[in-house]
């Protein structure tokens, strides 16, 4: 009898962003984010579990384990049963030990009407996770007897995964000259009293998309530009009030590159834009901040510039000298580089995964969608917003006892004439 030929073991090399997130994850930081949908009825856990089991095979890169090689991290398929739907907790986005034997890099949770997924950032960015989440919700509603068509970002779970969905789009689009790296000044960071490591304070504002769009249009920009300007304005006010040495106020805004470089990938494919206002140059009015933010964001969304940045980042991964350096040495250097290049020049991160579009039979069961950036790197605040229908949710995630940024931001929106409903998971009333 002929010997059976051994099947080569499947594994996935990390994409450019994944390399970084795997390296910087540690005892004090875990890059985990959450996307939730609040439905019109309480979530049926059994139906959700069935939907998850149908959904997972279509997304092989979401059911993996992280392995630490001698020189680089890599993913291998997770052959354990699951993942399983969990009951939600108040301190969500719990840290993950990415290489741990018992760790799952994807969590699915439910609480009353809310379905949530929590994802380790090395697996996917918000755009990719949104595709996974939409397809999961479509499967869930089908389990409940609804007829949900594919499309609008919902994949057909009866088909096998396409190779384009698991591709490393960074490598596909890298090529040509790398964009020169520019030095960025240290930015102002809102700080306060840190909470214990496992605490994540989330404060969420719910607004009407139509209202915000109207106010943003009156200020001459899009919703993202308006909210970015409002955040920068809030931080500038806080800095002035604190009376500290003045520093530039800037945001890290992840840009979904799928809009500019067509790809089906559900893995990471983002770059960061940096709108920045330097209050040392003089007093700005809000319309001036808005104008600056609008121009700066549009300036950074240049296709050749982004291609150059992708090339520079991928060159780092391809560098033969760096390839030969063991992870033990590379990880601390990458942590330091991340702190210097990705934390120091940014006051906070603001992400907007965009509009959650769903087919009408599904959309009528979804009241709103929420996005929460997990534990910030260092003791500070992060912000995420996402819209679904006319519901816009803006979520601040913080590991600080104080809530100055959240308070001043929402008060600013109220002064602008917007109606804001605020929810929070904080249990400490002080």
């Amino acid at each position: 009898m002929a010997k059976k030929k051994a099947q080569p073991e499947t594994w996935y090399p990390m994409d450019n962003a994944g390399v970084l997130y795997a390296a910087i994850s540690g005892d004090d930081y875990s890059p985990v984010y959450r996307i939730s949908a609040v439905l019109d009825k309480a979530v049926d856990a059994a139906a959700l579990q069935r939907a998850l089991e149908k959904n997972i095979p279509r997304f092989p890169t979401f059911h993996v384990r992280l392995r630490k090689g001698a020189f680089w991290y890599y993913f291998v398929p997770d052959d354990r049963p699951g993942p399983f739907v969990q009951e939600d907790v108040c301190n969500f986005c719990q840290p993950m030990d990415p290489c741990g034997e018992a760790t799952r890099l994807l969590r699915v949770c439910r609480y009353e009407n809310r379905v949530s997924i929590e994802c380790f950032h090395a697996l996917s960015d918000g755009g990719g996770a949104m595709v996974f989440f939409k397809t999961l919700l479509a499967c869930y509603f089908r389990e409940l007897g609804e007829d949900i068509p594919d499309g609008d970002g919902i994949l057909d779970v009866t088909e096998p995964p396409r190779s384009g969905e698991t591709e490393d789009a960074y490598r596909r689009y890298a090529g040509g000259r790398a964009a020169p790296r520019t030095w960025k000044q240290t930015a102002y960071h809102p700080t306060g009293t840190p909470e214990p490591f496992y605490t994540l304070n989330v404060t969420q504002g719910l607004l009407s998309v139509a209202q915000v769009k109207q106010v943003a249009k009156a200020n001459g920009g899009s919703i993202t530009e308006y909210l970015s300007a409002a955040l920068i304005w809030t931080l500038m006010e806080l800095q002035r009030r604190e009376g500290r040495k003045e520093r530039p106020v800037s945001l890290a805004i992840p840009i979904d590159l799928r809009r500019f470089f067509p790809t089906e990938t559900v893995r990471n494919f983002i770059l960061t834009a940096r709108p920045c206002i330097d209050p040392r140059l003089g007093d700005y009015t809000f319309p001036e901040v808005m104008e600056q933010v609008r121009y700066q964001l549009r300036l950074e969304l240049s296709r050749p510039l982004m291609k150059g940045s992708i090339t520079g980042n991928v060159n780092f991964q391809k560098n033969p000298i760096l390839k030969a350096v063991p992870c033990v040495l590379k990880d601390p250097v990458m942590k330091l580089s991340y702190r210097l290049a990705a934390i120091r020049p940014f006051s906070m991160t603001y992400t907007n995964p965009g509009i959650f579009k769903a087919p009408a039979p599904m959309a009528r069961h979804i009241q709103r969608v929420e996005a929460v950036l997990g534990q910030p790197y260092g003791d500070t605040v992060n912000c995420a917003s996402v819209s679904c229908g006319d519901a816009l949710s803006i979520s601040f995630a913080s590991n600080l006892k104080e809530r100055d940024v959240e308070r001043e931001f929402f008060r600013f929106l109220v002064r602008e004439g917007l109606h804001v409903t605020v929810l929070s998971n904080r249990s400490d009333p002080s």
């Binding site: 108040c90 719990q94 496992y198 605020v422």
Partner: protein
């Protein structure tokens, strides 16, 4: 439906206080809803992350085993010499330098520097016991270790509070001071008086670099140029 009187935002019916300013909700017409579920769960949990304590314990056990084996072997192999003290002292130094910070990650850096210095002093003492070298230990090794520990302590306490350029300047100053101390104690031990030679060359070079760095630190244009060039 209640609104915060300070923030102007609408609050959830189950909210006892405004999440933004902690003002208590007091609406006589709409009492707080204590029956409906809160917007977020109230149950919390913690995921156990593996600490490095287990790794530290494993390495400690390995080091202890190696030290014990060497001690026992010393009884049978060349018992006239205390050669195992070299191994035991080295392992002890490694433990203080690398393993103790795993068990006590929040140990103050001053205490850590002092313990590291003490470990080196102890290691040299063990060597001096085997070599019957009390004279050179007291006259040369111990003063150098004490002086170097003091310099490292001063630099370690200074560094975190200052800019990168100032820190580099102080580090270079520390190197110069270290060299001067070493030559001072070596000369005093060997000849009884200080005749600085090589340490002066090092100090002069360090002083030149420090002068440049101080000028760069003081002149804003140069400082900006240096930061641009070196991504500081």
């Amino acid at each position: 439906m209640s609104y915060c009187v300070h923030c102007g935002v609408e609050l959830d019916d189950t909210a006892a206080v405004c999440p933004l300013c902690a003002t208590p909700v007091h609406d006589p017409k709409t009492p707080r809803d204590t029956v409906s579920p809160t917007p977020y769960p109230t149950r919390s949990s913690t995921v156990e992350l593996p600490g490095k304590g287990e790794l530290g314990l494993l390495v400690t056990v390995i080091l202890c085993a190696v030290a014990a084996v060497c001690g026992v072997l010393n009884v049978f192999l060349k018992p006239g010499r205390l050669w195992s003290l070299y191994v035991i002292g080295a392992l002890l130094t490694v433990w203080f330098w690398l393993i103790l910070p795993i068990f006590l990650p929040k140990l103050h850096r001053a205490v850590k520097v002092l313990l590291d210095g003490a470990a080196v002093a102890l290691y040299l003492f063990l060597i001096s016991v085997d070599l019957s070298g009390r004279t050179w230990y007291v006259g040369l090794a111990l003063p150098i270790v004490l002086a170097e520990t003091a310099i490292v302590l001063a630099v370690a306490l200074w560094l975190p509070r200052h800019s990168i350029l100032t820190s580099i300047t102080v580090l270079i100053g520390g190197v110069a001071a270290s060299c001067l101390c070493i030559e001072l104690f070596v000369d005093r031990f060997l000849t009884g008086r200080w005749q600085p030679l090589w340490s002066l060359v090092v100090t002069a070079a360090c002083a030149a670099i420090m002068a440049v760095l101080i000028v760069v630190r003081r002149v804003p244009g140069l400082r900006a140029w240096a930061r641009r060039q070196f991504h500081l």
